[in-house]
């Protein structure tokens, strides 16, 4: 497909003095592939991230469909359990590290400089480097599937000792790939923090920033805090596998449970890394289409910070059945239940923003509203999972699968799609085809619920996660889920079609593409020229 190329910059600049230190590029950019390899422009890199993420979304989706096809009915029909395990693992890893996270980074690259009135990211060359690490990392990761012994087959949570003493030989490459992806995220986070803290338009204080910028700032701090922990864990794994240490091996005085503590110390904040920017996107879209300022802007910022802080105190709720002592169970149960409070504040704020607004239902708004409803349903099942005694029944069943897919698919992914539909006019200068987008929306809604809602029942009825075959009483739920999954997968082709059509042409969009949109990005022309805000805009405090 033709990637979105921002129009070549007209070679006339009102400022001759190029920002020193970042004198990268107002000379004519290199042509062809080199242009994309060497680009340091935040918009081009943002597009690269988004295209990469979309590609990976489909690859991860195909893996999910292999899983769903095998689970279509009882018995082993299509794949061997060994390959099934590789598919569930790869689906998880790809979706988390290669689809959702890069999509948010792509949106951040595109939108943060535009929203804070900066000419580019603070560290453009680092930005280029951190993107190009991703294809390297995930080519390596995907290639493990072709290695002798197969790819990683121990679940995306890679619990030791299954992932150390009992792992396929390709695990070393898996670790390497994850290291590279981690470095990429870390560099991206450094860049985003540096940009937000130092490059804001004169007069824009932290509390004047749009919520997308705020949530990303907090997300970037979370990344800085936990990606090194992930790096540490996989380094310990590497040492256990190759250098004879025993961090996670009881035989040498280690402890397999330690792995889980370390992993989830990274893993739980990671969950919020995947949802906080989504909160930011939704908090931009709902006020726009309700034509009313966001209710409780300050509360939103503070609730985001509170969620981020609490995310470091709840990790062991993923481990209620590993045999924690009673006191620990109680501590983590209480702290987990408390997270419901700031999360609830956010939902209440969105709903109150709608109250007495003037609401229209363009495709970005539809996805944002679906986000609020379905994410909240995911939040409810999360609250149920927080009740430690009940978790003894829920843990590692399809109930958990239903829960986190509700939070991540109609949560994170719907928010990303809402953001894409919202900002496409700014990126391409054209409105996306509204009819197509509406079809995409309704098909996605049906697909998502058909896929994931029956999983609640399958889990409660007793179906464990990550099994390639199941007892007969789970057959109907799985049948529905599989049908829903294929339906959902197919309907995402409409999304690709919509994006391609929008890049190619469509109804022309003005600078302020949506009536109620307020932030700085809507002051630059649509499509946004390659270089914007070379002279910092004057920021006027609006309503928040």
């Amino acid at each position: 497909m033709a990637p979105k190329l921002p129009p070549q910059p007209p070679l006339q600049h009102n400022t001759t003095a190029v920002a020193d230190g970042q004198s990268h590029g107002h000379a004519a950019p290199p042509k062809g592939i080199l242009r994309w390899l060497l680009t340091t422009n935040h918009k081009e890199i943002g597009s690269l991230y988004l295209i990469f993420s979309l590609t990976m979304f489909f690859i991860g989706g195909i893996f999910a469909l292999v899983v769903r096809a095998e689970l279509f009915q009882p018995g082993l029909q299509l794949v061997e359990p060994e390959f099934f395990n590789q598919m569930t693992t790869m689906h998880g890893l790809i979706m988390v590290f290669a689809a959702v996270m890069p999509a948010f980074t792509g949106l951040a690259n595109w939108m943060i400089p535009l929203q804070i009135g900066a000419p580019d990211m603070a560290l453009p060359r680092l930005n280029n480097f951190s993107f190009w690490l991703l294809p390297v990392s995930f080519t390596l990761l995907l290639s493990t599937l072709l290695m002798p012994g197969g790819g990683p087959n121990f679940g995306w949570t890679f619990y030791a000792p299954l992932s150390t003493n009992f792992a396929p030989p390709s695990t070393t490459f898996f670790i390497l790939a994850l290291h590279i992806a981690g470095i990429s995220s870390i560099l991206g986070a450094i860049n985003i923090i540096a940009t937000i803290l130092n490059m804001r338009a004169p007069g824009m204080r932290l509390m004047d920033m749009p919520l997308f910028v705020w949530t990303w700032l907090i997300t970037a701090f979370l990344l800085i805090a936990v990606m090194p922990v992930l790096a540490g864990v996989i380094t310990m794994m590497l040492m256990d596998i190759n250098f004879g240490t025993s961090f996670f091996d009881a035989a040498g005085g280690g402890d397999p449970v330690l792995f889980q503590h370390l992993f989830w110390f990274f893993g739980h904040p990671e969950v919020y890394i995947m949802i906080l920017p989504a909160f930011g996107i939704v908090s931009a879209i709902i006020p726009t289409f309700a034509r009313k300022p966001l209710f409780g802007y300050a509360s939103m910022v503070y609730a985001t910070a509170a969620i981020a802080l609490l995310s470091f105190l709840v990790w062991a709720h993923h481990m209620f059945i590993v045999g924690l002592p009673l006191v620990a169970e109680l501590f983590f149960m209480y702290s987990t239940m408390l997270i419901a409070v700031p999360t609830g504040v956010k939902v209440f704020n969105w709903v109150t923003t709608l109250f007495r607004g003037s609401i229209s239902f363009e495709s970005p708004m539809l996805f944002a509203l679906a986000f609020v409803v379905l994410f909240t349903i995911g939040g409810f099942s999360g609250l149920m999972l927080a009740i430690a005694p009940a978790d003894f029944q829920y843990h590692d069943t399809y109930f958990v699968v239903a829960h986190f897919h509700y939070v991540l698919v109609p949560g994170a992914i719907f928010a990303i799609m809402a953001g894409v539909y919202y900002w496409l006019p700014k990126w391409t200068g054209h409105y996306p085809n509204e009819k197509l987008a509406q079809w995409h929306f309704w098909f996605s809604i049906i697909g998502v619920n058909l896929t994931f809602f029956p999983m609640h029942f399958a889990g409660l009825a007793g179906m464990p996660r990550r099994i390639p075959d199941y007892a007969l009483q789970f057959a109907d739920f799985n049948l529905l889920s599989s049908i829903g999954a294929f339906f959902f997968g197919a309907s995402q082709l409409l999304f690709v079609l919509g994006v391609i059509l929008c890049v190619r042409g469509g109804k022309k969009a003005p600078a302020k593409a949506w009536e109620g949109a307020e932030d700085l990005e809507w002051t630059v022309p649509s499509p946004a020229p390659l270089h914007t805000f070379e002279t910092p805009p004057v920021f006027h405090r609006t309503s928040h």
Binding site: M207, A298, S299, A306, L309, F331, S335, H544
Partner: protein, 57 residues
Amino acid sequence: MWSVVKSVLAALLGVQSNQKREEDFSSGRPAAYLVTGMVITLLFVLMLIFLAMFAAR
């Protein structure tokens, strides 16, 4: 001092008024908020631990 503590507590719950926030952000002492935030977080964790230990008896 009390107003700093109040702001941080409000942040913990995610409830803050715009006016109060304006005051906080114009007072220009981010370090005070940071330190208070950390102390309160620590107190909060300790409180939860004691609550859990008390409940476990």
